[in-house]
Symmetry: C2
Subunit: 224 residues, 2 copies
């Protein structure tokens, strides 16, 4: 990696992306165990459920300062709190939905967001027929009010669910409005200012991963 | 990794999951370059666009037998064909949509599937008010006909877009019908037979990844 040393150092402090992805998986699993009435869990148990190695789980959790207690394992409460803190979801993140089509509608009904530290706080669209109407008690606002409303409501992340043709233009409007992170559903590589984070949900990529598994007979190995 | 040797051997032949994910990203990037009129590309150029290291890109592609030509780089046509073959998308995959709610509707309008080797071939729902009606020239069939229709149409993968409460039960119906891969949109860990592959699209996980990037000031680094 021939990068400027300042950048390398900055990146070095961050967990590698696969570790961050696994943190989310650990969190989901801990929620399931907690719902089942468990209070403690061993790295070995987590590893078995997620089909990872015990060593991998311990290493990932140690990255965030969590070390199991001998003979007890991890306290589920503590571990959840620690992972949420590492991810940044120990506080509630208000979220804007930009684009109230089928996908925007589906997201608004996606109850999991609320359970995981996210709260849909505002909805935007450019269609005059939709603007002013309501969905889930939220008024649909015109795109032009994005900056004003996000600032007022402290919204710093947005799901971009507009058609692909307009996604780049709307992404620029979004970043101009002060949003710092975009969950992008449009199947394009968004060009945004460097300070803005983008995570793209590319469903073709997910299907390609599925087809790879099906073609290679991987079967149901969640760790892969 | 203490696994049975047969399993280890089987897994060893497979590319590591992050490599497979990057293959999809390379493919998208090659499509963009091709649309722009390019015929050849260097690993260095791909690396720069996706913010990976040159060595990483060359290593990933060498895993699938692709080695650049000195002074020319990779021929985009060849590289695309080679990646599609590695992924299994060098043939067309008919796909079933199971659950015709907002998300199912959004998927049916997702034109990217057709561009990447996927074709929505059948739609299923359990709601008698939806069954028999049409969407995008496809009749909505009852769940009970899943096995029959998927067999007749050679469908082996399905997108599961039903509500979370019924997702596990419907997943079992899906696997009983001969489907070998499920793209799961329900926010639960599906329990399916070992031979069935599952890729879960967990939007909370994606948002957590976004919030991690926003919280840590990662900004727009697509390679992470």
């Amino acid at each position: 990696m021939a990068e400027k040393s300042t950048k390398s150092e900055n990146v070095a402090k961050l967990a590698p992306r696969p570790v961050v992805t696994r943190l989310s998986l650990y969190l989901r699993q801990l929620e399931i165990l907690q719902t089942a009435g468990e209070t403690c869990v061993s790295s070995n148990k987590i590893a078995k459920i997620l089909q990872l190695s015990d060593a991998q789980v311990r290493k990932d959790l140690a990255f965030f300062g969590q070390f199991g207690h001998p003979g007890i394992g991890y306290k589920i409460d503590d571990l959840q709190a620690s992972i949420r803190k590492a991810l940044g979801t120990d506080k509630l993140w208000p979220l804007a939905i930009v684009g109230f089509g089928n996908l925007g509608r589906a997201l608004m009904r996606y109850r999991e967001f609320d359970r995981h530290g996210f709260h849909i706080a505002a909805v935007f669209d450019s269609d005059p027929r939709k603007i002013g109407s309501s969905a889930n008690d939220l008024e649909i606002h015109p795109l032009a009010r994005l900056g004003e409303i996000c600032k007022k409501q402290g919204i710093s992340i947005a799901a971009l669910t507009v058609p692909a043709e307009v996604a780049q233009d709307v992404a620029i409007e979004i970043t101009n409005s002060g949003i710092r992170g975009i969950l992008n559903f449009a199947p394009i590589v968004l060009r945004v200012p460097e300070a803005v984070s983008v995570v793209s949900v590319d469903l073709s990529v997910q299907l390609e991963q599925l087809v790879y598994k099906v073609s290679h007979g991987v079967g149901n190995q969640p760790g892969r």
